[in-house]
Amino acid sequence: MTEFDLVIVGVGGQGAILASDIVGKAAVNAGFPVMAAETHGMAQRGGSVENHVRLDCRYGSLIPRGRADAVLALEPAEALRTVDYLSPNGVAVVNTNPLLPITVLSGSAGYPAVDDMLSELEGRCKRLVAVDADSLAVQAGHPLTANVVMIGAVSSFLPLDVESLEESISSLVPPKTVDVNLAAFRLGRKTAGTTD
């Protein structure tokens, strides 16, 4: 089966669109129909962003709640915010580094403990993969590659081969950054391990 529903969430500016493009383009290169939905416009200014990517899909781009095969979260609170998309048989791949919203920075709201959020997520799906993507991105060579680290971390769950994904990354990132992004992808993939 190659049908796979992936929700990618994060904060405007974290590179969620590039992340969904990598998966979508890899799938099209592999010959699958793909439907994806992106957040543009006002919400981009530091707000929550939510992209849906449906592989081998001939319907609409919006993934129903309770049916995502995976939620890829570039930020832990955003993972929990969209937890209802997760299928109980799904997998949550979560960057453990918080990005504090203005409501927390200004002291008008609190930010939950990351461990509490992760255990809640763990109870809601078949498997939780927690990734320190920010450190791995630095290790790969650039802090801005955290989104590609995360694509690496979710990659072994996707019905896509490594070559298609790496080809997609190479064609989408700025030419000078191909090597560092491929390194980020591989670090993420290695850290998350393989399916089961």
Binding site: G31, G46, G47, G60, P64, S106
Partner: protein, 603 residues
């Protein structure tokens, strides 16, 4: 395996490709989510024809009309509320008709993702009596463009093309076609009965418009955008339109429902197909986003028939649909036992994450100074742009539509409000529909202050150029209009320009404007930080001196996402502010700090 004619594209990119392949002679539009990228992608394709960002949608529509009347193929593109602005020429265009093919793109936004309302452009098309194409997928959007031009030319009618957010900002594999190049006979032919809508001509053209309705509907009825799938023995009929049809199709397939199915993608709705479906079933469920456009027709057609009709009684008439909202209605109509998925949510309280003005955004300084000068009790009418986020600073008391800040301010004043009134409007919005409001305010002696937040771009929709940037859509240099000169020409006696990164001067400037009796204008001018950084401008970031910081939170209240508050380690002591790596160095917080605790960091 991979196919060279199949590409993974954004819906708007696919639409732009199709416009280019149709040898379109003139494309004019005004940016607006979800439609903005159509012209942006087109510009990158360097098309042979003319493309432009017009100053507003009415202007864009009229430019496109002129091109069509000269025999060229043209497109006017805008968001759904832009069609309101353009509705004056649009409604009469339906009478006059077109010569070269003309497509009016109205990007609808069900769910108000980035809009002040979620009106349904299918109603506009019906109002004007022109055809409307409503794509279900980005692929269909791509395919519809060439059809729209051909149909427009065949019936001398403009065609409304109405992709919604999920089409414009959806991405999918798009199969590209190679279209045969078309030749357009360019030349304006004088023909007053067609192009001069004097009453004597308009009356005739109205009849022509009515007379061609049946023939147009008939041609659309059998087009590939409508599809009837009759299922032998089915007692349920499901009708779905546009993007809702893919949700309906998925629900039918998942639930294994036995139903005859009519997919609609072209309007006027296909009455013969609806009649055929209605004749074979006992019950019909109509699934469409927003308005009951199809449902109304179905109810008219089936009046007096022994048939049960469902539509907006089970499908929301507001917001965006998805499988989750469509599936229960399909299951119910089919008489299936169905337990809707109940989202368990989480007990952990999550902080809200509203969109915010960027670190270094000049609007933050403008609003800070405006509030200092006018006081928090002043009335702050607002407008449409990034700066609508000023609601978080208490300087956005109204937001209605493009340009309404100045005019509603005047109305508030004339109604007898005695508190000071200071409105804000962006540079692009001012040029869009703000100028007539300013002229009117001066003419009718409104004692208000109009702030033009001049960030040298149309930021919210993705940094499109406008007449005050001196650049065209293709990046070519053109005349750079002066906002000061426009304000002076409107008769404003006090026009002041200030730099919102200089807080003390900006506060003084606002105070002067407040004191002035009559309409005053403050132009708060500082480039959008995003475009500035893209141009390579780098400022030294700032930091907090912990020894000087008293934890008063003045900088925190300023609301910059680069500044965070560290609570005290020991209870009872004062906390500290800290400036993180998001700081771009605008330095405004250093001016806001009462204790001089913020300064440039040494790098």
């Amino acid at each position: 395996m991979s196919d060279n004619n199949v590409r993974y594209l954004l819906g708007n990119n696919a639409i732009a490709l199709a416009i280019n392949e149709c040898n379109t002679d003139v494309v004019a539009g005004y940016p607006g989510t979800p439609s903005s990228e159509i012209i942006e992608y087109l510009a990158r394709m360097k098309p042979k024809g003319h493309i432009e960002w017009s100053v507003n949608e009415k202007v864009a529509m009229e430019v496109a009309i002129g091109a069509s009347w000269t025999g060229g193929r043209s497109v006017a593109t805008m968001k759904h509320v832009g069609l309101n602005v353009a509705s004056d020429p649009f409604m009469t265009l339906a009478y006059a008709g077109v010569k070269g093919g003309m497509v009016v793109i109205s990007g609808d936004d069900p769910g108000c993702h980035s809009s002040q309302n979620e009106q349904d452009s299918r109603r506009y098309a019906a109002f004007a009596q022109v055809p409307c194409l409503d794509p279900a997928t980005p692929q269909e959007a791509y395919d519809m463009v060439a059809f729209a031009f051909e149909f427009s030319e065949m019936f001398e009618t403009p065609v409304v093309f109405r992709p919604t957010t999920r089409i414009c900002h959806g991405k999918s594999d798009i199969r590209l076609q190679t279209l045969a190049p078309t030749e357009h006979d360019i030349g304006f032919e004088k023909n007053p009965p067609r192009w001069v809508m004097l009453p004597v001509h308009a009356r005739v053209r109205h009849r022509v418009l009515i007379d061609k309705q049946e023939e147009m509907a008939s041609a659309l009825e059998t087009s590939q955008w409508n599809r009837l799938e009759m299922v032998e023995g089915a007692t349920l009929g499901i009708i779905a339109s546009g993007v809702a049809s893919v949700y309906a199709q998925e629900a039918i397939d998942r639930l294994g429902v036995k139903a005859s199915y009519l997919k609609i993608g072209a309007y006027p709705a296909p009455t013969r197909l609806i009649r055929e479906l209605a004749g074979s079933v006992e019950k019909i469920l109509v699934i469409e986003e927003l308005e009951p456009v199809v449902e109304d027709i179905v109810r008219i057609i089936t009046a007096g028939m022994d048939i049960e009709i469902h539509g907006k009684d089970v499908i929301p008439g507001y917001g965006e649909l998805n499988l989750g909202s469509v599936e229960p209605a399909v299951a119910d109509a089919a008489g299936l036992d169905y337990t809707a998925y109940t989202a368990p949510g989480t007990d952990i309280e999550l902080p809200s994450r509203p969109p915010v003005m960027c670190p270094g955004c000049p609007h933050r300084g403008s609003y800070y100074a405006m509030k200092k000068a006018f006081g928090k009790d002043a009335i702050f009418p607002g407008d449409i742009g990034c700066y609508t986020l000023g609601i978080q600073m208490g300087t956005m008391d109204t937001c209605l539509c493009m340009g309404a800040s100045i005019t509603t301010s005047a109305g508030i004043y004339h109604a007898g409000e005695t508190k000071p009134i200071c409105c804000s409007i962006g540079d692009s919005t001012f040029l869009h529909t703000g100028i007539p409001g300013l002229l009117n305010a001066v003419y009718n002696s409104a004692d208000i202050t109009v702030t033009i937040l001049d960030n040298r771009t149309t930021a919210m929709t993705g940094h499109q150029p406008n007449p005050s940037t001196g650049l065209t859509v293709r990046g070519d240099a053109t005349f750079m209009v002066s906002l000061e000169d426009i304000a002076l020409a409107c008769g404003v006696e006090l026009v002041l320009t200030t730099d919102p990164f200089d807080i003390a001067t900006t506060i003084d400037t606002f105070k002067q404007a407040k004191e002035h009796k009559g309409t005053s204008v403050v132009i708060s001018k500082q480039e959008c930080i995003i475009t500035a950084r893209r141009r390579g401008i780098k400022l030294t970031p700032f930091g907090v001196d912990r020894d000087e910081c008293r934890g008063c939170k003045a900088c925190i209240k300023f609301g910059c996402p680069a500044i965070e508050f560290e609570p005290p380690e020991v209870e009872g002591e004062k906390g500290h502010s800290r400036i993180g790596n998001l700081c771009i160095g605008c330095g405004v917080c250093a001016q806001v700090c009462p204790f001089n605790a913020i300064s440039e960091v040494e790098t």
